[in-house]
């Protein structure tokens, strides 16, 4: 065997090792309940600096396997989440669950795509990924540049309709697919053992809720959602919190937005004015209010105008 034949694989080995080490500093995680780990995102817009790490991501460890719940806003964040899993357990990652199609939750998918994990999502997730995914990728590549070079849209092999269970070995996760609310592909994950509920963006705390599905639908979903038998929630954005009181702030905001829009519509106020007035009494209560409220008001107004 020539030096060449040895050197090349060695060289590649070194490169990939260096790459892995550089990319794989583990995300900071908190064990929120026994076997339930969460990395809390920052309340901000996705940028190169924060590596898209603005949403909460986590994983649950059973006797036999691990389930990852959301993968973050870049493949780098996904790899760092994977590294965090490996600081806790060597068990295989059996499932990667996407709570919905938004970039900050699903752009890390590629980090888990070739390790034999089954991707799991709402029945509508493939549709959302195919209609919106390419748009998200091209839009966010312009903001985050090279960081998203390796981002991929990974569709779920297992699609959830209604309620289904996943088994991690003496540990059942109850998955539930919801009607249109935050988006038309919202999925929640309940860890039965610790009664910890991952809601994705069906729940926001501190970070202003973002309406991308249907305001009326969301308000409707809040009813049955509150009855999910959980002790604590890991929202899509914001801190872990007791359940179901964690819903109070979000419900108040969405109710306010709906009531304001309905009153403005009844008075004949034009959209342009409504966008800057609906919901503004909530301003001091939320982070990123300036970034999202007018957009929410616009979407809500256009939806409620047809009531």
């Amino acid at each position: 065997m020539s030096w060449f034949a040895v050197a090349i694989p060695l060289l590649f080995g070194l490169i990939s090792l260096a790459h892995a080490q550089a990319a794989e500093s583990a995300l900071e995680i908190t064990e929120i309940a026994e076997g339930v780990f969460v990395h809390f995102g920052v309340n901000a817009l996705m940028t190169t600096e924060n590596e898209g790490g603005i949403a909460n991501v986590g994983f649950v460890v059973g006797d036999a396997a691990v389930a990852v719940i959301d993968t973050g806003g870049s493949v780098r964040e996904g790899r760092r989440l994977l590294a965090a899993v490996r600081t806790v357990t060597a068990k295989p990652i059996r499932y990667v669950i996407n709570t919905h199609a938004h970039p900050d939750h699903a752009f890390g998918n590629a980090a888990f795509a070739r390790n034999g994990a089954v991707f799991v999502g709402h029945r509508n997730l493939p549709r959302a990924l195919s209609t919106r995914g390419p748009f998200y990728l091209s839009a966010f590549r312009r903001i985050m540049g090279n960081l998203l070079d390796d981002a991929e849209l990974v569709a779920p092999q297992r699609q959830i309709e209604g309620e289904e269970q996943l088994d991690l070995g003496n540990r059942i996760l109850r998955l539930r697919a919801w009607p249109v609310a935050h988006t038309d592909n919202d999925l929640t994950v309940l860890d039965e053992v610790t009664q910890t509920l991952f809601t994705g963006d069906l729940v926001f705390l501190r970070h202003i809720p973002v309406v991308d599905g249907s305001l009326r639908g969301w308000l409707t979903v809040l009813g049955p959602l509150a009855h999910v038998p959980a002790r604590r929630v890991i929202p899509g954005h914001g801190p872990a919190a007791p359940w179901p009181v964690a819903l109070d702030d979000e419900r108040r905001y969405l109710d306010r937005l709906a009531a304001d829009c309905r009153a403005l519509i009844a008075r004949g106020t034009p959209l342009a004015v409504a966008a800057t007035t609906a919901g503004v009494s909530e301003k001091s209560r939320w982070e990123l209010f300036a970034e999202y409220n007018a957009r929410n008001a616009t979407a809500a107004f256009a939806e409620l105008e047809w009531e």
């Binding site: 919106r132 091209s138 004949g268 034009p270 342009a272 999202y292 616009t298 979407a299």
Partner: protein, 286 residues
């Protein structure tokens, strides 16, 4: 929740090429990703001189300040639904009237968003448009003597034309062509003008042709309301020739001078030849 950071984060679409290359450009956007820097747009030549020559057959455009105004948010919150209000004000003593207003979104793939022909008393038209990138928006008013007057504003938004359509696709199909007509108690312009305000809403996806289909991943063909007419009795109040820049569920609010008729009539035609019709009694002024 940053799916819409594109509206705030300074990115822009690449669809700023000559409008004759729109489809090529549209496909390039999806394919090419992150090659455009924000500076790129600023360095682009202003398309307006050529654009306005093409649209108005080389006719002279006069400065429209004080005669035609555009109200639009400087930064659009949602590029797929940007409110725009056009106000025409003929100076006191000027006997001319406004015949038509053309709304042009310079950097959109199809820049002419709509041409409105205006009936008696119509001096205000509000609608909602898609804005594809940071752009100048022009309104050109044609007065009864044939003179053209142009005004412009600058708007920061991006992705409005290729932004995914219908958050609820099934609902959009079921409701196609549904209309709603509202009459407002008092015109925003004040009671002195003698005009009133009305709003026509029509359910239609108004697909831009730049959005991708859910299953096939092919571009959804353009499918939009191309013609909308509103009559007060037998008198045409407002006519719109629309394009793909008008937002989903077209929504037009306008003022008009009541002519004593008892009925409004609306007819809309889309690019597939569907005709949608509606009629409503004129409500008494409150």
């Amino acid at each position: 929740m940053t799916f819409d950071a594109m509206n705030t984060g300074g990115l822009r679409s690449k669809m700023r090429q000559d409008r004759r290359t729109i489809l090529v450009a549209a496909i390039a956007v999806a394919a090419a990703g992150g090659l455009t820097s924000p500076v790129f747009a600023a360095e682009q030549a202003d398309p307006w001189p050529e654009l306005s020559r093409d649209i108005f057959n080389g006719r002279d455009l006069k400065e429209g300040a004080g005669l035609i105004a555009i109200e639009m948010p400087y930064r659009a919150e949602d590029a797929a639904i940007v409110p725009v209000t056009l106000r025409a004000t003929v100076p006191a003593g000027d006997t001319r009237t406004v015949k038509a207003i053309t709304l042009v979104i310079d950097q959109n793939p199809a820049p002419v968003a709509a041409t409105f022909r205006t009936g008696a008393g119509v001096a205000m038209i509000s609608t909602r448009v898609r804005v594809d990138s940071y752009t100048n928006v022009h309104a050109v008013a044609e007065l009864s003597d044939g003179q053209l007057y142009a005004s412009a504003v600058f708007v920061k938004a991006s992705g409005g034309c290729s932004a995914p359509a219908a958050k609820n696709l099934e609902e959009a199909k079921t409701n196609l062509g549904q209309m709603r007509f509202r009459q407002f108690a008092r015109p925003a312009d004040g009671p002195m003008s003698g005009t009133r305000e009305a709003q026509i809403m029509i359910r239609h996806p108004n697909n831009s042709g730049l959005q991708r289909d859910q299953v096939s991943l092919l571009y959804v063909p353009a499918f939009f309301i191309r013609e909308l007419r509103v009559w007060q009795g037998d008198e045409l109040v407002l006519a719109m020739d629309g394009g793909i820049s008008i937002s989903e569920d077209p929504n037009i609010r306008f003022n008009y001078l009541p002519n004593g008729a008892t009925r409004f009539r609306v007819e809309a035609v889309d690019t597939d030849g569907h005709v949608f019709k509606g009629a409503w009694p004129v409500e008494a002024a409150m």
